[in-house]
């Protein structure tokens, strides 16, 4: 049982900086997610923590032991790989027992632990089989079992669910979460799938090009994205981004996109006053745009955050529906009630909730203010 501390961790491959000055404190027992698009350095970071990659700079602590010079086998970690990495020439039992055999554990001890882990994961009936005889889901469980058996200080997982089909993935997500509550060990989990991140993690570390963009709980990261990248990355469908200026209109601080205007909410006004007159980027989630009944067309271009939009694509998705609309050349995604779907080509009025607007500085891309009241995404 141990937490992990990273201090100014940097990893270079020649001239390319894959991990750039990453500092992070992971609590003992925490389920932390490393999230980001491919190439962002999350896997490199994980492999550095594992000791499979030598680091160029910085320090890694597991518990309070410095791990820089310690080889992977001595770090008391266990790892689950994307392609499961089960030893093809051994059966399931031997796969799971491998690490223990190397540490000269007694036969009784090995047997006990393997059976315990197998029972936990429901794979006891597979112990004699070879990996090639197993399905993807079964292999994944064996990989988990191999990690559990070691009783490590830290579990490292490198996109373990990416190779599974959608239904299995949902199932395994829940199982991994249950496993974590049961074992109470530190889990460091790498993924590019934000749904996994949002549903499983205690905290999420969002990475891009080797740099940490934001660290926070799923709620924090959703409600208060620290920059444009995080805002666009978290949330499906992604946040709509608009370019415009902050102006004063009718005495109220307003976001002016040219073809429409949205007055800001009170909390945002406090934080954004010094941006008056300057260009900003505004983001609003599809769920914070409301499609009004056609009768409200009279308020179009009235500036009260109401906009006329032409419907391009309609996507019913069961209990929610999304429409892709065109507003003065810009594309937006809007969540609508599936029971009153507009048709392609219709012009519908949309109301944008000013208090749900996220403002960002166009140059630094950082958030100016977050929304105060934010409809939380359905999990």
């Amino acid at each position: 049982m141990a937490g992990v501390t990273l201090k100014h961790l940097t990893k270079r491959f020649g001239k390319v900086v894959a991990v750039n000055d990453v500092s992070l404190e992971i609590e003992d027992g925490e389920f932390i997610i490393l999230l980001g698009p491919s190439g962002c350095g999350k896997s490199t970071l994980l492999y550095s923590i594992a000791g499979l990659e030598d680091i160029s700079d910085g320090e890694i602590y597991i518990g309070d032991r410095l791990m820089n010079r310690v080889p992977p086998k001595a770090r008391n970690i266990a790892m689950v790989f994307q392609d499961y990495a089960l030893y093809p020439h051994m059966n399931v039992y031997d796969n799971m027992a491998f690490g223990l055999k190397l540490r000269r554990a007694s036969k009784e001890e090995i047997d006990r632990r393997v059976h315990e882990a197998a029972a936990l994961l429901g794979i006891e009936h597979l112990l004699e089989r070879r990996p090639r005889e197993l399905s993807g889901g079964q292999r994944q469980r064996v990989a988990l079992g191999r990690a559990i058996v070691r009783e490590p200080d830290v579990f490292l997982m490198d996109e373990p669910l990416s190779n599974l089909d959608a239904i299995l993935r949902v199932q395994m997500r829940a199982e991994i979460s249950k496993l974590h509550s049961r074992l109470k060990t530190t889990f460091i989990y790498v993924t590019h799938d934000q749904i996994e991140a949002m549903t499983m993690g205690d905290r999420i570390v969002i990475l891009r090009d080797g740099l940490i963009q934001q660290v926070g709980t799923p709620e924090e990261v959703y409600a208060n994205p620290a920059n444009v990248f995080v805002a666009g990355f978290i949330g499906t469908p992604s946040m709509n981004m608009m370019q415009g200026h902050l102006t004063r209109h009718d005495g109220a601080l307003t976001f002016d996109a040219g073809s429409f205007r949205v007055p800001l909410g009170t909390a945002a006004v406090e934080r954004a006053t010094h941006y008056e007159g300057r260009p900003v980027i505004a983001g609003v989630r599809p769920s914070a745009i409301q499609a009004l009944p056609r009768g409200a067309a009279g308020d179009v271009a009235a500036g009260a955050g109401i906009v006329a939009a032409r419907v391009d694509v309609v996507e019913p998705m069961g209990d929610v529906a999304y429409i892709f609309v065109d507003v003065g050349g810009q594309s937006f995604t809007v969540r609508v009630d599936p029971l009153s779907l507009p048709r392609v080509g219709d012009v519908v009025p949309l109301r944008i909730d000013g208090s749900a607007l996220h403002l960002f500085d166009p140059e630094s891309q950082r958030a100016i203010s977050g929304a105060v009241r934010e409809p939380v995404a359905a999990r």
Partner: protein, 285 residues
Amino acid sequence: MSGHRHGLLRRILFPLGVAFFTVFSLAPFVWMVYASFVPKSQLLSDPFALPPQFTINNYYRLFASANDGIGADNFRHAIINSLGVCAVTTLISLLIGSIGGYAFARLRFGGKNALLLFLLAIQFLPSVTVIIPMYRMGSAVHLLNTWWILIFAYTSFALPFTLWIMRGYFESIPRSLENAARVDGCSRFGAFLRVVLPLSAPGFAATAIFTFLNAWDEFFFALIFTNNYAAKTLPVALSEFTSRHTIDFGLQMSGGVVANILPVVIALSMQRYIVRGLTAGGVKG
């Protein structure tokens, strides 16, 4: 072409082709075996006499006679020389070639591609160019007429190919397997031993077979570097044995059968490894 059409042409051409192919491939070998079991008198007068008289006299003389002047003892000694040289060559080149192949497959270092290309290109140099200097070098260190100079030369012939094939096999093993082993408790080398090696067994088999067959077959260097039976290998011994027994064709052929039995058996039983090996190295260029 898929076996789709059963045209008349096909029905005739095909079996003809197969028959011709079989005769083509096997005739000399079959004749050699046949002639080794036929007494000299029959071979000289009427080789196809029916019914043929079979005898194992040739083999008897080859293996049972002592120093009676037919040179069979030298021939037998050459068998041992060949076995020793080829076995040691195979072992050493497997060892050296596989660690080199591992370095090319797994490790990052400068000059990788250039070095690989260089090693591959080396194989195409004609033996004649190196044989003269090697002879002088070999005699200077008194290694002529020993197994070692041949082992040395044959190993260097085998190394580029071995390295290339093993590199291919190592690359085909997912890195995550080695990583998993390192996390589970192996050192880098331990992971190599316990995970990579067992999974590369076919590669080892293919290169071992090739190295052995090529070493067994090698004539030029053996001829030049050895002049007594302390180290003469079978190809040289066979050539001398044959010219010594000019018209005793049966005896000649029996020597040939003995010299060929091992490579033919190995090739036939390990045929799929040979194909794999040749194509892995050859077709991929």
